[in-house]
């Protein structure tokens, strides 16, 4: 599903941040991505959905080389990958509900059925009461939940979440994890970047999750000794 081959990346301003990365996220797999702050988790994720292009090596998503895609191609790729960004960007002039439905509206899939899914999803992330609010009026945790809801509304084949539980309490983080696990059980490929080891432990009781760790510019599969 997502395949990296000898990928290296460095920002134009700095030294190599990631190098020599070769790995495969198989369809239906559940991966965590962990590592110290600044290690390059967000960068790795951006490589996976075409926001950044590898300095060298190849990134293949759905068997397409990301390098070969033009902007429209990247746009179409993003419709099949639900991304929950760490900095949760929204359109501040639209309500929370409209923001969550944005991927549907921009792709013309705003059907009655999708509306019902939206209502259910808003309930799941606990935002039913805040549906009409504007994004700047939300708390940090509410923003993250809204971002997660927006990431999964299209029922994408791949879900990539960058710190989806960074600002929420334990109970809510368990709830969000349940959502991701449910989606994984429906066959979606899931990648979650997080610092939160207890979240990973909790997940391991529910699903076969593997852990990728970024250390020394490499991404390695971590052992079972978390």
């Amino acid at each position: 599903m997502i395949e990296l081959e000898n990928v290296a990346y460095r920002y134009s301003s700095g030294d190599a941040l990631l190098s020599d990365i070769s790995l495969k996220l198989a369809p239906g797999s559940f991966h965590f991505l962990t590592g110290p702050s600044g290690a390059g988790k967000t960068t790795f994720i951006k490589l996976c959905y075409g926001a950044l292009r590898a300095t060298s090596g190849a990134v293949r998503v759905f068997d397409q080389d990301v390098k070969s895609l033009n902007r429209d191609g990247v746009a179409k790729l993003r419709r099949r990958i639900g991304v929950v960004h760490q900095d949760c960007q929204f359109l501040d002039h639209l309500s929370v509900a409209e923001n969550i439905a944005l991927p549907l509206t921009t792709t013309g899939r705003d059907t009655q059925e999708a509306r019902e899914d939206l209502t259910e999803l808003m309930g799941w992330v606990g935002l039913t009461d805040r549906a009409a609010a504007l994004p700047p009026e939300l708390s940090g945790g509410e923003r993250q939940r809204a971002a997660l809801a927006r990431g999964v509304i299209m029922s994408p084949d791949v879900i990539i979440a960058d710190e989806p539980t960074g600002n929420v309490d334990w109970e809510m983080s368990q709830r969000l994890l349940r959502l991701l696990v449910e989606l994984n059980k429906m066959g979606k490929t899931v990648l979650v970047a997080t610092h939160d080891l207890s979240l990973i432990r909790a997940a391991k009781t529910q699903v076969q999750a593997r852990v990728l760790r970024i250390a020394n510019h490499r991404v390695q599969l971590a052992g079972a000794d978390l």
Binding site: D72, L91, E98, R150
Partner: protein, 300 residues
């Protein structure tokens, strides 16, 4: 195909693009206002151009049809020379009609300058002969030669000398009108481009978010293009209506229409200003599309 889809998106409200860009009241009003002002001016430029075109044709035609012979001779020879001239004219091909103005007509012509009560018989005033030409006209050079031989005091004036600059300036005026319309279009394009650029720059964050959720550049561009096209159309329509009302209210062309009273539209020409809003919309469509592509290219 692409263009067709784009055009359809302009007319049919598209739920996908309508709300995604925040509305910006101020630039919106500016675009409407400037489109209205340009359209208003364009109506006048158009009227000017059409009126001077008509004038050029009329002056050209009317004056080309007539000519004058002036006979300057001692009072006692005047009648004889007039006779001879009329005889020559009768045998000249291309002359449809020729007649000597009688003294009361000549008096009427001179009255504005010399007042009434002139006794023309006693004054060395030239005798005038009016000639109406046939469609193909006559051979002015040939006629001049014959007159020179037989009537020493006769001068042929086929009006071409003073007609040419008049017709030329009318044609210049017409061209000026066309150039004005063109300049107005360019100015509108510049205005819309500036406004669209400002709007795109103010919405960089919006564009980023839209891209994150998988919106294509085309879709994002359409959201802006539709907005500016509709605004330019609405503004231009408004300005055009006011312009046409103003032209209607101008003093109507009287029989002896001078230039200024002839400024207006005639018959089918009234349909021409209706094209102004369409034209403005087209200009806005391409100007916004161009800036949107440029800004989004820079953002990538």
């Amino acid at each position: 195909m692409r263009l067709f889809a784009d055009l359809k998106a302009l007319i049919v409200r598209d739920r996908r693009t309508d709300g995604i860009v925040p509305s910006s009241g101020f630039t919106a009003h500016l675009v409407i206002l400037s489109a209205a002002a340009m359209a208003f001016l364009a109506v006048f430029a158009l009227a000017l151009s059409l009126a001077s075109g008509r004038l050029a044709v009329r002056w050209g035609d009317e004056l080309a049809q007539s000519a004058t012979i002036r006979i300057v001779a001692p009072v006692e020879q005047r009648a004889a020379q007039t006779e001879t001239t009329l005889r020559i004219l009768e045998t000249t091909t291309g002359v449809a009609f020729a007649r000597a103005l009688d003294s009361s007509e000549q008096q009427a012509l001179l009255e504005p300058w010399f007042g009434s009560g002139l006794d023309l018989e006693k004054l060395p005033v030239p005798q005038l002969i009016e000639i109406i030409q046939e469609d193909n006209g006559f051979d002015a050079a040939g006629l001049r030669l014959r007159l020179a031989a037989e009537v020493p005091g006769a001068t042929l004036d086929d009006h071409s000398q003073w007609r040419a600059p008049l017709v030329q300036s009318a044609n210049r005026l017409k061209a000026l009108g066309v150039v004005s319309v063109f300049l107005l279009a360019v100015t509108l394009a510049a205005m819309v481009t500036l406004a669209a650029n400002a709007s795109l720059a103010a919405n960089v964050q919006v564009i980023r978010v839209l891209r994150l959720v998988g919106a294509t550049d085309g879709l994002i561009a359409r959201a802006f293009v539709r907005r500016f096209t509709v605004r330019a159309f609405a503004g231009a329509a408004l300005g055009m209506v006011f312009g046409m009302i103003s032209v209607l209210l101008l003093p109507s062309a009287s029989e002896a229409s001078g230039f200024l009273t002839g400024l207006g539209f005639q018959g089918l020409e009234w349909a021409l200003p209706l094209l102004i809003p369409l034209f403005a919309a087209t200009v806005a469509f391409f100007a916004t599309g161009w800036s949107a592509r440029r800004v989004m290219g820079d953002l990538a």
